[in-house]
Structures are given as structure tokens and as C-alpha cells.
């Protein structure tokens, strides 16, 4: 689905999101119940650098400051963080973490946050946006990844064919939506043939109260022991006080 198709299907009652030369997504959509959904994001596979972060973070902080409980939808198609000596020199890690913190603050302040991955999503830009939400959903053609397989082959010094074979045995490392779902990162895959507005409303009804992604990964078998390890550490830290 294109971004236009997605927005039309999400907001049949209308929205004010226009294409921007910086490929950021900023605006508000109307819900069937008369309420609104605040929308931020990044489109067209654009890489996220320090200049891209600031308008998105400012918008999220303004939403928090204005009060209310409007949900925030974070729509993402990004190839990853901008790979640039200049942005690194200026502290790109602080900018990306700032955006994630703003989204996490919004969620703590009563704004349910939903990530929607429709194209690419990778590495640091993924952490700063869609992975910093209460619940992450995707469309079937989404391609979330930590790193593409050829680059991964280079870094791990393993042949790409061997990595392809291994990805058949475990979802733990290879790029792709099925694998990201199996580890618990992507909670649901929406059906593009049905109205996205209805699927958004259904997702909003069931936004988890805390971070349950490790439990989801255990249930789906993609991350078999993370949830149990985190609990064991907490239990040893707190003794019998930890429930």
C-alpha cells in the first residue's frame, strides 16, 4: 500500500497530512467516533538524521503539553538512521534517543502510542520510532530489519547462503516481518483488504498496559528465554518480594 492509500483507509473522515519535502509525516486524522488521532512518522524510506528528529519530537512534546488522551500513530518507512559523519559528530545517538523518550513520555502521559510499519524500518531509526511505541503493527509488505542479509554476511564473515539456510531454522536474526513478529516486536499484521480504520480502533482497544513483548516472543517461540531470564534476574534482585 502507498502512504496515500494507507491514510485514506485509516481516516475515511479526513486528515490534514500533506506530503513534505523532508519526507516527515505530521498531522491529525479524524476517527469515526468524532475523536482524533495524532500522526507522526517518516515516509518514502527516508533515512532519519538529526534534522528529521526535531520536528517529530517537538510535535510529540506539544501533544503531551496540550493534555488530553489522543492516541499517537507513528507511521514508519525508513531505511534506518542517516549514515553521515556530520550527524554522528553532532551526536545522532542523542537525537534518536530523544525522539524515543518523547514517545515513551507520551505513552506514560496517557496517550496510547501505536507504531505502523509499512515499508522499511531498520536499526537506530527503528528504535527511535516504531519500537518506542506501546504496540507495533505492520502491513504485510513491511520489511523490518536490523541489517540486510548481504551486510550481515560481511560483518559476521559467514556466506550469505549459509545465513539464508540458518534463517529457516531460527527467526532470531534474519530480516523480515515474519521473524520480527516471531520475536515479539511486531504484535499484529493488518489486512490491507479491510478498512484500516477498523483495525486501528481494534488495536487501540487492546493496547497493552506495559511492555509485554518478551512474553509475546516466548509464546511465538522466536525469543524462547528472554522473558524468563528477565524475571529470574528481577527475582534474585528482590527476593520473594518480586511477584
Amino acid at each position: 500500500m502507498t502512504l496515500d492509500e494507507i491514510l485514506s483507509s485509516l481516516f475515511p473522515k479526513g486528515h490534514d497530512i500533506d506530503p513534505r519535502s523532508d519526507h516527515l509525516i505530521l498531522g491529525t486524522g479524524k476517527r469515526a467516533n468524532g475523536g482524533t488521532v495524532e500522526v507522526v512518522g517518516i515516509a518514502d524510506g527516508e533515512a532519519l538524521g538529526i534534522e528529521g528528529v526535531l520536528p517529530l519530537a517537538r510535535r510529540v512534546l506539544d501533544i503531551v503539553a496540550s493534555g488530553g488522551k489522543a492516541p499517537i500513530l507513528v507511521i514508519v518507512d525508513t531505511q534506518g538512521q542517516l549514515m553521515s559523519r556530520r550527524d554522528e559528530m553532532l551526536g545522532l545517538n542523542e537525537y534518536l534517543a530523544h525522539l524515543a523518550k518523547c514517545l515513551l513520555l507520551a505513552s506514560r502521559s496517557g496517550h496510547p502510542t501505536v507504531g505502523l510499519n509499512y515499508g522499511k524500518a531498520a536499526a537506530g531509526a527503528f528504535l527511535a520510532t516504531a519500537l518506542a511505541t506501546d504496540v507495533l503493527v505492520a502491513l504485510p509488505d513491511a520489511e523490518p530489519a536490523v541489517m540486510d542479509l548481504p551486510s550481515m554476511a560481511r560483518v559476521t564473515k559467514l556466506p550469505e547462503d549459509k545465513l539464508k539456510d540458518l534463517s529457516q531454522t531460527t527467526p532470531v536474526f534474519a530480516p523480515g516481518l515474519a521473524f520480527m513478529s516471531a520475536v515479539g516486536a511486531v504484535a499484529q499484521v493488518w489486512d490491507p483488504a479491510k478498512p484500516l480504520a477498523d483495525q486501528l480502533e481494534a488495536t487501540l482497544v487492546a493496547v497493552p498496559a506495559g511492555d509485554k513483548r518478551d512474553l509475546l516472543g516466548a509464546e511465538r517461540g522466536g525469543r524462547p528465554i528472554a522473558a524468563q531470564i528477565a524475571r529470574r534476574v528481577a527475582h534474585q534482585a528482590s527476593g520473594d518480594d518480586y511477584v
Binding site: 530523544h98 515513551l104 536499526a123 531460527t170 513483548r213 528477565a230
Partner: protein
């Protein structure tokens, strides 16, 4: 702050030490208790697929201890095992520690993260990426309950990728000259964008872009530590009581801080140009200063004290 019982540990290089040596030297003698210690043999279930050896701590040591008699929770990454990377087990150990701090008010209200990590372990990339997301969320939640989380950056692997984002999610960051932090490392940028974008073999360039002195001058770290166990202990003790709360006012101040940085320095082409713009008299000399002289320069800078995060 020299501890007479630990003279050699105090002067040991942080950069060259292992995670366990750093903890042993940093914490009050005999005060460390480890959670899920190596005797429990909690190791990666995935590395064998790649014919790689596992470690009984998966390169992440978590526990509690005392620092200058104050109770602290600690996590230390072992940069010499798989580059200190975030993976299913190593990530979950840190998540568990942070969630315990969040949920149990009787636990120490200070968490020290001794980061030494190239980021996500690619052999467990999906689990590692998600672990970083969970760590960032758990840090924010713990901070929301009044826990101070301090990142210590000075290990061989630095704090890159997910570790760079993790550091910047903390309440405070202490860094040494040898400490390096960022998102994409120089080699990754060179591989993807070419040597003209970033020459990873140019050590002086790499140092000026990612190194601890540049980070401290710009306000990307809140304390500068000498490269010793004692240096990091002093830096942490200086930060421990002045952590910002996690709220709207702090993040608005961070927004202003980061916008201001682009406005003042965004047009600069090199670190030296940035240091000139910051008003440093002899920017070429930053590299040659000793730690004391460098600390003096930091004192006079607005950006370095402009530290909402």
C-alpha cells in the same frame, strides 16, 4: 579518592579492564553480589548455530553493590565477548535488572550501566534489537519512578548502535577520553557511504568525531572521567545527586538543547570548527591537553553544562 585497599585497581586502565575488573575496582571492596552468576550457566541458545562459543554470563554482568557506601544496582557489558553486544540473554538480564529497580522501591535507587558495546549482536539481531527497545523503555519507566540511571562509557567497544541510544536514554553519562559513542561506527559509514564520507583509518578524525572529549565539549556527556577505575568512580559520585527527573520539562529542555546545537554548530565541517564556534581558544590543542587542563576548559562552556536528558 584513592582506596588504600585497592591501589592497583584504582589506577588500572578502564579501557583495558574486563567488565568484572571494572566492577571489582569501582564498587566498595567485597560489596558486589551478582544476579544469575556464571555458575548458573545462563548462556546464549543461538550462538552454537553459528559455530560460535557461548559464555556463561553472555557478556553481561548484573548485580548490586555499594559505591562510597551508597547502594547501587550495576550492569556491566564485557566488550571482549562478542563485542559486548545486546542479544537475547544479555539484553534480558539488563531488562530484568531495570524492571526490578522500577518495581521494587526497596532496591537501590541508582543504576550504573557500564556500557562496552558495538550494539546489537547480529547473530541474534532481531532479539538484540528488541532487547534494546525493551531496555530503553525500562530505563524510562525506572526514571519515572525516581531511579537515577548513569551510563559509564570508556570501554574498548565504546557505545555504538543500540548502546549509543541506550546511553542517551540514561539520566546521566560519564565518558573518558578513550570512550567513544555514536550510532553508526566509522567502519559502517565508510562501507556504506565511501571513504570520502568517513575515513575509518584516520584515527585523529575518528577520535575527534566519536571520542569522549568531543562528546563532553558538546554536552553529549555530563562528566569527563580519567581512564582509570578511580576516574570513573569520581565522575559517577559527582553526577549521582544531580540527575534530571523524567518529565515534560526535562524533555522540552532537551529539545531546546539539541535544536540549539544544530543552530550553533550544524554548519561546521569538522570537530575543530565546532570547538572554535564554542569559543575554545586553541581548538587544535584539545587533543594534547592532559585531563586536568581539559576539565578546566569544559568548566567555561555553556554547552557542557546544558545537560537536560
Amino acid at each position: 579518592m584513592t582506596d588504600p585497599r585497592h591501589p592497583s585497581a584504582d589506577t588500572a586502565s578502564w579501557f583495558l579492564s574486563t567488565a568484572r575488573e571494572r566492577l571489582a575496582g569501582l564498587l566498595d571492596p567485597g560489596s558486589f553480589t551478582e544476579f544469575l552468576p556464571p555458575t548458573e550457566r545462563v548462556q546464549s541458545p543461538h550462538l552454537a548455530l553459528f559455530d560460535l562459543p557461548a559464555a556463561f554470563d553472555d557478556g553481561m554482568v548484573v548485580g548490586r553493590g555499594r559505591l562510597g557506601k551508597r547502594a547501587v544496582l550495576v550492569a556491566a557489558q564485557e566488550g571482549q565477548f562478542m563485542g559486548g553486544t545486546f542479544a537475547e540473554v544479555s539484553g534480558a538480564k539488563l531488562v530484568g535488572l531495570l524492571r526490578a529497580a522500577r518495581d521494587d522501591a526497596k532496591l537501590p535507587r541508582i543504576v550504573l550501566l557500564l556500557l562496552d558495546s558495538g550494539g546489537v549482536r547480529l547473530q541474534e539481531g532481531n532479539a538484540g534489537e528488541l532487547a534494546v527497545a525493551e531496555v530503553m523503555r525500562a530505563i524510562v519507566e525506572a526514571r519515572g519512578y525516581g531511579v537515577t540511571v548513569i551510563a559509564l562509557v570508556g570501554g574498548r567497544a565504546g557505545a555504538f548502535g543500540g548502546a549509543g541510544l541506550t546511553a542517551a536514554t540514561c539520566s546521566r553519562i560519564a565518558i573518558s577520553e578513550q570512550g567513544r559513542t555514536g550510532v553508526s561506527g566509522p567502519e559502517v559509514i565508510e562501507t556504506n557511504k565511501g571513504v570520502e564520507e568517513f575515513d575509518s583509518q584516520d584515527k585523529a578524525l575518528v577520535w575527534s568525531v566519536t571520542g569522549g572529549r568531543n562528546r563532553r565539549l558538546l554536552g553529549g556527556a555530563d562528566a569527563y572521567a580519567g581512564d582509570t577505575v578511580a576516574g570513573f568512580r569520581d565522575a559517577v559520585l559527582a553526577l549521582i545527586d544531580r540527575a534530571p527527573p523524567f518529565d515534560l520539562a526535562t524533555l522540552r529542555a532537551e529539545q531546546r538543547r539539541l535544536a540549539d546545537r544544530i543552530e550553533r554548530l550544524g554548519a561546521c565541517n569538522s570537530a575543530v570548527e565546532m570547538w572554535v564556534a564554542l569559543g575554545i581558544a586553541e581548538p587544535q590543542n584539545i587533543r594534547n591537553l592532559d585531563d586536568t587542563a581539559f576539565a578546566e576548559i569544559v568548566k567555561g562552556l555553556r554547552g557542557a553544562a546544558y545537560d537536560a536528558r
